[in-house]
Assembly symmetry: C2
Homo-oligomer: 360 residues x 2
């Protein structure tokens, strides 16, 4: 069971997995704590505990993450799209998954589950966050996003069916922009039997363990890297590395086309050589001079050196002291088929994927 | 019954009522003639012939009219949204109405009716064309556009429900732009018993009579004004006036935000004083010097002096000799409540409505 006391650990873990994106979880932490206190705990179930014919749906906000911090969020918006999906499918929803178990969107799955009174499945579609809704394991493996239900803060609810998932992303993005670069989406409906094949498994537990490691390091004033590596180890062979550490010397960001774009530069210790992080919602590429230190789909996150707070891409500010961490992406995202969708070239970088293991 | 032989008259009448918008009907004429030839005639029924519990829906393309000429049109696009609406309502559609009995959109109601095998109701929502989907009698009188079904040439189909009709226009416009500034919309579902209250009645017959008058004038090399006045007289007290006649000396147009915007200037006979027509999809204001000759909601249309062809706003070209005609809008559009929605100020003009009767 997952109760109000678990929220902060989950939030830290999700933000680390967010690669700078997925949305700042703060407001979502407050809403979720309130929901779990008044409505009781939410059950997290393993993919082997989902009944084969259970109806599972994916949930999450689509837009520019900074908008999630600018606009107060109301759970009615979440309820509206869930209700629309239930009507469209003509049956109850038995469990929810996060489209991305990352940032605020990791918590939004628990908010949806609490509202519906159903469990959260210990899996997601990205194992991190990505800017586009079709950069997801289900799409990479050939599932359809249709029907997708989208709702917004104005009380509008929209049901979309498209010929392919890139059309779906195109139309959902247009609706997100039309609602101020933020909308809530319920998509990629699948049956319990399909979850182990199409989803990235164990990511809720992973986020919780990573958050636990961060909070423990914070309380005991220790460096978190070894504890994070141990937490990752439990979930498979994923590697975490510290790419560097230093002071932020410049930030540029822009919200356009429904995304947040930006560049962060830091003066990296000990040489002072500048390190550059580029993002589209999520940090996608880390470079130092000519060297590419890490690229998408590996996860690149910034952690405040003092507080060990994970800082989302749009919250990085001049003068912050940060560690830049990289975590190996789940194997499913590192296949050639996946790299076409989530590798650096999918974001317009003239780069091949540089696995962080390779630069060790 | 309405057969292939009636299409050209209807097209001329609809284009005249279009106030320069509603889309150039040419491709729609060809598609409709083919449909009526192969599938048989479509029945046009008076509002008093619609069963009280009959399900009626409104249809039409939403976007920038010029795109309807640039892209070939396929009736599958129309069928998709109709099918979606049938599914959403959970019942058959018994009759269709044109959202605007104007330009190509007047014909699109017949295409929809032919595909469904149902009649067209002798009424519409605008009695002319307007750029926005919420500039319609149903919205003015407080009906909801929800649910609205939208389809596009990519085979996408979207069902929208919004809190108000201006939100609906906002989201449908975003979807239209995302599909290249053109989508097909089925909206404002209503029952037969509601049609006489909420629709503008008799506009199919009116378009047909106006088209007949134009074609007769064309064949007999007569001036059409008297015949148009007679045709209008049959439908009530609407006035038609010739605002002027002259050579087009400049045209400016731009497609943006899902609409076509532009200005046409002509050297008006006999003095040569410039006359200016400004449009957003539809001609909205006609001026000569400081004098406002006509404004929305009255209908402003250009007719080629030689061929008597009605020229849509985006098809006006340098050097054309045109008559500028103005037709009084239906009474429902001239009420204070309607003028807030379709009067000149609704389009950003710092002008009150100048009824064409008043400037006679």
């Amino acid at each position: 069971m997952f109760g109000a006391d678990d929220v902060n650990e989950l939030a830290d873990g999700c933000t680390l997995l967010g690669s700078g994106g997925g949305g700042d979880p703060y407001i979502f932490q407050l809403v979720l704590q309130e929901l779990l206190t008044t409505r009781g705990a939410v059950r997290v179930i393993g993919v082997d505990q989902v009944a084969p014919d259970a109806q599972v749906v994916n949930v999450g906000f689509v837009g520019a993450p900074i908008v999630l911090t600018e606009k107060l969020f109301c759970e009615d918006e979440v309820a509206l799209a869930l209700h629309g999906m239930r009507q469209r499918l003509g049956r109850r929803i038995d469990a929810v998954m996060a489209a991305e178990m990352a940032g605020a969107n990791g918590l939004s799955a628990f908010i949806a589950a609490s509202l519906l009174g159903v469990p959260v499945v210990d899996a997601d579609g990205m194992g991190r966050a990505f800017p586009r809704s079709d950069q997801i394991s289900y799409a990479i493996l050939g599932r359809s996003a249709s029907p997708t239900l989208v709702s917004n803060e104005h009380g509008d609810v929209v049901c979309l069916e498209t010929r392919d998932n890139s059309r779906m992303e195109h139309l959902v993005r247009a609706l997100s922009i039309a609602a101020g670069s933020k909308c809530f989406s319920v998509d990629y409906p699948l049956f319990g039997r399909d979850v182990p094949t199409y989803a990235i498994v164990g990511t809720v537990s992973l986020a919780k363990r990573l958050g636990h490691a961060i909070q423990h390091a914070r309380r005991s004033h220790r460096q978190p890297l070894a504890a994070l590596q141990a937490a990752l180890h439990e979930s498979g062979a994923a590697v975490v590395r510290q790419l560097g550490e230093g002071k932020v010397t410049s930030c540029w960001n822009e919200t356009r086309d429904g995304f947040g774009f930006g560049t962060v530069t830091l003066e990296a210790a000990p040489t002072g050589e500048p390190m550059t992080l580029r993002y589209q919602n999520e940090f996608l590429v880390a470079c130092q001079g000519d060297r590419v230190l890490a690229t998408t789909p590996d996860i690149i996150s910034c952690m405040d050196t003092e507080t060990l707070a994970i800082i989302t891409s749009d919250a990085v500010r001049y003068g912050q002291r940060v560690k830049v961490l990289a975590i190996q992406a789940p194997p499913l995202l590192r296949t050639p088929a996946a790299l076409r969708v989530v590798g650096p070239r999918a974001f317009g970088f003239d780069l091949d994927y540089v696995p962080i293991g390779a630069t060790a």
